[in-house]
Symmetry: C2
Subunit: 414 residues, 2 copies
């Protein structure tokens, strides 16, 4: 088998850990809700359909459908106790044991690669990071094949040197901690593994874990992740009978989440409908209970100040709370944010693209988002309108429902 | 077996090809002349004895004494016809078949590593590049072991990027040709192989061969090399009864050489006693007969002009002659020399240290030179007095005998 044909996803555990934390809630509460996920390529300069032969992509996706969780993988999940004793319950694990990811719908249309995943939420959700990892790696494999062996080696060489530079920069700021969030944007599976292994060796006190469950298992690292926009979005489709119910769906999700995972996973993602809405609805009791907040769009410092202000106003000691930043980070930016806040509130970082795809090839900005749940179009607004997801009419409706007034729009670094 | 213990020399063919061209002449004419070779470390900032454990070095040297030329290696030499039909005669090949390199003498004295090779010239000569390759690779292995895996990878990454830079520079000058002369200074055996393979792939019209016989065999490249200072130096010890005989020993060697290899290997090394002496004695007939000249010290442009002037004065068309430059070259320097001369005379380049040891670790400048032959101290003056070899009193005597007046002295780049 040639390298370009080697299976990219070799284990169903090779996905972000939050797929399981979300997956259990979905399985328990909304197993059969029909959903649709869809790929968006934000890097419009790249034609995925021209770079990745249809047959190659099908072969990789079909291979994933032959995979099942094996015994050791289920043992690993069953034994997970980092957030809560035996957080994954037996009925969920038995469900996983027999699960196969559902059919995908793939079509090439001019420059576009149209990929949709339809099925029950409880099974379809697992496709997200799998598809992103596959498309990324196929894209880079094909790009590399256009180059000479020396040019390929020089690309890896750049990656190694960039990685060493990151280590040198972060070593100067030993209080800063981070987690690998780079599965979805990785240059390749082996490269993600290499990067994480090097970070383990070079910055053992600063690397706190990886979102990649298989890597965490293989390297003995902490598997990390809580919930994604997908949950708010799914809930908005399920609780959709009126504007009020949609408005309330955010709180319903957070309620179900806290009920299932308690304090252990109580890091709230704040930007699905904009952080202004989030803080408006965030109660004193919730803020006291929760571990902290995740910032995934907009201005991180601005967000951090907003959070600090909230905690102080509520008489909550921010030093006991944690902010997780996960939007388009790089070493120097993390240090700026860390230095700005570390005396006032705990911070940590979910480091994605720049960690696992900083060779000298431009990273792709691909997302796979839940665009429909329970027959309704879903919406993500975020604190950066260029990251908004949803049909225009739905976006307008949700902006109205959630009182969204932000006009900040910025092309992401990635 | 750990990498640091792996045998560096795995074949007696892993030496410079000129050891065989010289070796056959030595075998035929001066088989039993007693000689002494000695290591000199010109990189005084590095203590070899501190960097390389005695036992490690002994293990590698002892391993070489277990090696014999195998059948395929002898076939390869027997089949060599690039310079002359069946240039290696059967009696010489039979001699090689049974040959073992003689004992070495190794002593650690403070910062110094004292390595001497004593024995008959016909057997001892093979140690030269072997010892240099071994000491280099052990030095870098030990240096690398002090570094983290990422730092090691970053060193290789620098090597890859430097190599790509060389390719880009040389591609702009497609008429320039070169040969790998880097066996003795290589970072490691695998690295030399990598570099040569990349050059084959990237600059197939410009890479003309390698001095490493094993690499040439393995990669199907042209094995290259003619004669070294060792020949003049050895002959000076054999023909030593008077100043006149010493003076004449240079011509005796060239006579024997031309007799054995004819036009095929008639590239004269010009600087053993300084190029002024060489040109003073170089006759019209010799210049007509010979392919060309090799420059290995001093100023290359100055030397080239001297050679051009000589050919023109003798009414010989310089366009039919070749200058080989082999002293401390790098890509831009080769291009300068090539552009200066290529319309008037053929040029090519023997590229050593900068080709096979340009990572981001300082290259060592080690030489192993014939310091005694037939009981007499030998001398190399060269066109750069800082490269002179010999006991001070012998150097003074040889300067007088050969009318050496050059005072140019320059620390080599390598």
């Amino acid at each position: 088998m040639k390298i370009q044909d080697e299976a990219i996803i070799q284990s169903l555990l090779d996905i972000d850990f939050y797929k399981f934390t979300m997956g259990q809630l979905i399985f328990k509460k909304h197993k059969d809700v029909p959903v649709r996920f869809k790929l968006t390529n934000r890097t419009s300069s790249v034609s995925l359909s021209k770079m990745i032969p249809l047959e190659q992509l099908k072969e990789q996706l079909d291979h994933v459908r032959t995979l099942r969780f094996n015994n050791s993988e289920l043992h690993y999940l069953r034994g997970t106790n980092e957030y809560q004793e035996r957080m994954f319950q037996e009925d969920y694990l038995q469900f996983l044991k027999n699960m196969q990811v559902p059919q995908y719908q793939l079509e090439y249309n001019g420059d576009d690669l149209i990929l949709e995943l339809l099925g029950s939420w409880s099974e379809t959700t697992y496709w997200e990071t799998i598809c992103l990892s596959i498309i990324n790696e196929l894209y880079y494999r094909n790009l590399m094949l256009q180059k000479s062996r020396l040019a390929q080696d020089a690309i890896f060489a750049t990656g190694v040197k960039n990685l060493l530079d990151k280590v040198k920069v972060l070593r100067k700021c030993p209080g800063l901690t981070f987690t690998d969030f780079g599965t979805r944007r990785r240059f390749s599976r082996p490269w993600q593994k290499y990067v994480v292994e090097m970070m383990m060796a070079e910055l053992p006190q600063q690397l706190k874990g990886t979102s990649n469950t298989k890597l965490a298992m293989d390297l003995g690292l902490m598997p990390t992740g809580t919930a994604a926009h997908e949950m708010d979005m799914g809930y908005s489709g399920i609780y959709h009978s009126s504007d009020e119910e949609i408005y309330g769906s955010h709180k319903r999700f957070l309620h179900d989440w806290r009920e299932m995972y308690g304090w252990g996973l109580s890091i709230d993602l704040t930007d699905t409908y904009g952080s202004n809405f989030f803080f408006k609805e965030f109660t004193h009791e919730e803020a006291v209970f929760d571990k902290g907040l995740r910032q995934d769009s907009g201005e991180p410092i601005e967000f951090g100040l907003k959070a600090l202000e909230f905690y102080i106003k509520e008489g909550i000691n921010p030093k006991e709370k944690m902010l997780i930043f996960s939007d388009g980070l790089w070493a120097e930016k993390m240090i700026d944010i860390y230095r700005y806040f570390h005396k006032d509130i705990m911070t940590t970082f979910g480091w994605g693209t720049d960690l696992t795809n900083d060779l000298c090839l431009k990273p792709l900005s691909l997302v796979i988002k839940l665009v429909e749940a329970n027959g309704h179009g879903t919406v993500k607004l975020s604190d950066n309108l260029s990251k908004a997801i949803g049909r225009p009419e739905d976006v307008e409706r949700f902006k109205r429902i959630f009182g969204y007034k932000n006009n900040f729009s910025e092309t992401c670094k990635y």
